[in-house]
């Protein structure tokens, strides 16, 4: 009613300027106040990978704070980075060792006070000090989950000899033309680097000459690949159908394909297996409470969360107690021992590609893809 009257008065030119301003101010206040009213609680906002937004991975948090945090989902760290950079407000993000620098350099992360994390002492020591966890003397990413990147292959469709001589080379092998699925990413460059004999550090900082050396390999791969996958379900379905016989994969793929009864094996390539390590970073871009952020991270690195992650997702966890309470069968199926330190030490930990190096790798791979398409 009031509203109608006001509009009427305005139309008849009977509203004084002061009234107008007061009304506009009231409206403005209303607009800014609205989100506060709409938000049910003052929860923190967590920017997560899809599938990680479930309460089992943060036991106790919801009980303590009344509800789970608000989740937003991203599909790739680059997407998440661009979104936060353009103003998305969140308190916690889930980067990996190779991507966390971007967030740190962008001034988005704040160091985590590990003394506030009750589970921190049980975090595997090697992970507590890993590159990417500690940056410039402060913990910018609390390690949570880790795993491998390797080749998954159909044992029934790949030459049996391969089982005794597992190699990254299968992703570049014309014998399997049209039947391989590399991932859609720069890791292909690093893998090709391994194949031409570069060491585990060199592959993350290749010179222009070295890039030119791997170019023929990558161009060949672009020709023989069925597709580059950007979501694990893509190669998962293709492998189940027999359309693809070998793919770049994370541990979890072995678990899901084996459960479907598909004969697959996760290779331990002679050139080395990759290890990735991801974790939670506290961000300064949100409006949430810092204590709640620490509670959330602490819940994630609890042994119960770890047990769930190992058994249900097939990934490694940062809490060493988790490996003691996880079922031995699931550990064995994944090829984990109760002591993950050894595995961690063997693997080639992904290193960050920062700044120009990132541009160089990305554009080089874009070049390869574009050339294959033309």
């Amino acid at each position: 009613m009031n509203c109608i009257k006001f509009v009427d008065r305005m139309a008849q030119g009977r509203v004084a300027r002061r009234d107008m301003i007061r009304a506009a101010a009231a409206f403005g206040v209303g607009v800014t106040a609205m989100p506060v009213h709409v938000r049910a609680s003052d929860q923190i906002t967590v920017f997560e990978w899809s599938g990680y937004d479930i309460p089992e991975l943060m036991p106790g948090y919801a009980e303590k704070h009344g509800s789970p945090p608000d989740f937003a989902i991203f599909a790739s760290e680059e997407e998440a980075f661009q979104k936060i950079r353009t103003g998305f407000k969140c308190d916690v993000m889930h980067p990996c060792t190779y991507s966390v620098y971007q967030f740190k350099d962008g001034g988005m992360t704040v160091p985590v006070d590990t003394s506030k994390l009750s589970n921190w002492p049980n975090v595997i020591p090697a992970l507590q000090t890993a590159e990417g966890v500690v940056i410039e003397g402060a913990v910018h990413m609390v390690p949570t989950d880790w795993g491998n990147s390797s080749v998954i292959y159909r044992t029934d469709m790949v030459d049996p000899a391969f089982q005794h001589d597992e190699s990254w080379g299968i992703l570049f092998d014309e014998t399997y033309a049209g039947k391989i699925a590399p991932s859609d990413g720069e890791s292909n460059i690093e893998i090709a680097g391994l194949l031409i004999g570069l060491d585990r550090n060199q592959i993350f900082r290749m010179t222009d000459e070295q890039l030119e050396q791997v170019r023929p390999l990558l161009e060949k791969q672009a020709k023989i690949a069925r597709f580059y996958w950007s979501d694990p379900s893509e190669f998962g379905q293709a492998m189940a159908a027999g359309e693809v016989v070998a793919a770049y994969a994370w541990n979890e793929a072995v678990k899901s394909l084996t459960e479907q009864g598909i004969p697959v094996k996760y290779a331990n390539p002679k050139e080395g297996i990759f290890t990735w390590l991801c974790g939670l970073s506290a961000l300064n871009t949100g409006e949430g409470d810092s204590a709640m952020v620490h509670d959330f991270i602490d819940a994630w690195i609890s042994p119960e969360a770890g047990k769930f992650l190992i058994e249900e997702y097939g990934y490694g966890h940062s809490n060493k107690v988790a490996f003691e309470i996880a079922s031995p069968e699931s550990l064995a199926a994944l090829g984990f021992s109760t002591d993950p330190s050894e595995m961690l030490a063997d693997g080639i930990l992904f290193q960050p590609l920062v700044g120009e190096l990132n541009d160089k790798y990305v554009n080089f791979f874009n070049d390869i893809k574009a050339n294959a398409a033309i």
Binding site: A11, E243, V362, N366, A372
Partner: protein
């Protein structure tokens, strides 16, 4: 009521102003649209243009004016040092794919629109709603449906195999430019049908009877009357399909495989992984200008053709 109501109500100053000035009424009516247009269209385009003259410095942007991005994108044309041909060649290829999509879509849409305009007597609205039903689901879902149809174990392959026509699944159905073409043509079909339908529906039926009366059989009548009168709709549909598909990146990413990549994928990568917004902006603008030029040439040729027909 105690006081008698005035017979003629005196208009307020604002009302009088609007009464007197037709342009003011027009702009007042347009202003919400205009505001949205300025905010949602002009501003982003302006930002894009501005970015294209800047330089990315890891996480910061150097706002010194430079043409380096354009040199990177186009330099190959005049042999600039270090400029790569991929952007231009990919743009050209994207246009070829889009052209293919446009032609395919029009070939599919025209008979449908014709049927709708001339053969459907009752419930035309129902038909039009039915055309748009697939659009109630998300685009991604429709792409995935095509993956199911064209896939290795998909509808077509398992159908052909169970009929014994093939023994091995056909691999050329998915993950190549043809798959991109099929999916895009399907996705844009409804957008193409409607303008053609409208132009056909508008044709005075007595023109067709007159042509018949003057000796034309059905086919000749189509080519001499129906087709030329529906050309404006066909052109509108063609542009409606061609312009947005050149820059598409979702479809090539999902069904294009390694050969089906288009310029949109590279641009998207510049705004994402490569984190080079200025180059991405320059590529976007080059693409937009290239599309505009192609469209203008096309329209010019069409108008020449029509002048010559006279």
């Amino acid at each position: 009521m105690t006081s008698p109501a005035p017979i003629v109500r005196q208009d307020s100053r604002i009302q009088r102003f609007f009464l007197r000035h037709e342009w003011a009424r027009g702009y007042a009516l347009l202003s919400p649209t205009l505001a949205v247009m300025v905010l949602a269209m002009c501003l982003p385009v302006f930002m894009l243009a501005a970015h294209s003259f800047w330089t990315q410095n890891y996480l910061t942007i150097d706002e010194t004016f430079t043409l380096a991005n354009y040199e990177q994108a186009l330099g190959w044309l005049w042999g600039a040092e270090g400029a790569k041909p991929i952007y231009i060649r990919l743009l050209w290829k994207s246009m070829q794919i889009s052209f293919g999509v446009t032609v395919t879509t029009l070939i599919l849409a025209y008979p449908f629109a014709y049927f709708l305009a001339f053969k459907v007597r009752r419930n035309k609205n129902l038909w039009i709603i039915l055309i748009s039903v697939p659009f109630l689901t998300s685009y991604l879902l429709r792409v995935f449906t095509w993956k199911i149809i064209l896939g290795f174990n998909g509808v077509i392959n398992s159908g052909l195999m169970s009929l014994g026509i093939i023994s091995e699944p056909l691999e050329f159905l998915l993950y190549n430019p043809t798959a991109v073409l099929i999916v895009l043509a399907h996705a844009w079909a409804a957008f193409a049908i409607l303008p053609i339908y409208v132009s056909l529906e508008k044709i005075d039926r007595s023109l067709l009877e007159a042509a018949t009366d003057l000796g034309d059989g059905p086919f000749r009548r189509f080519w001499r009357i129906t087709w030329p009168l529906s050309v404006p709709g066909v052109i509108a549909s063609g542009l409606l399909v061609f312009i947005p598909t050149v820059g598409d990146y979702v479809t090539p990413k999902l069904v294009g495989g390694t050969e089906g990549i288009m310029i949109g994928n590279i641009i998207q990568s510049q705004f994402g992984k490569a984190n080079n917004w200025p180059l991405g902006s320059a590529l976007s603008i080059v693409m937009a200008i290239a599309i505009t030029i192609v469209v203008l040439i096309f329209l010019y040729v069409m108008s020449l053709g029509r002048v010559r027909a006279k």
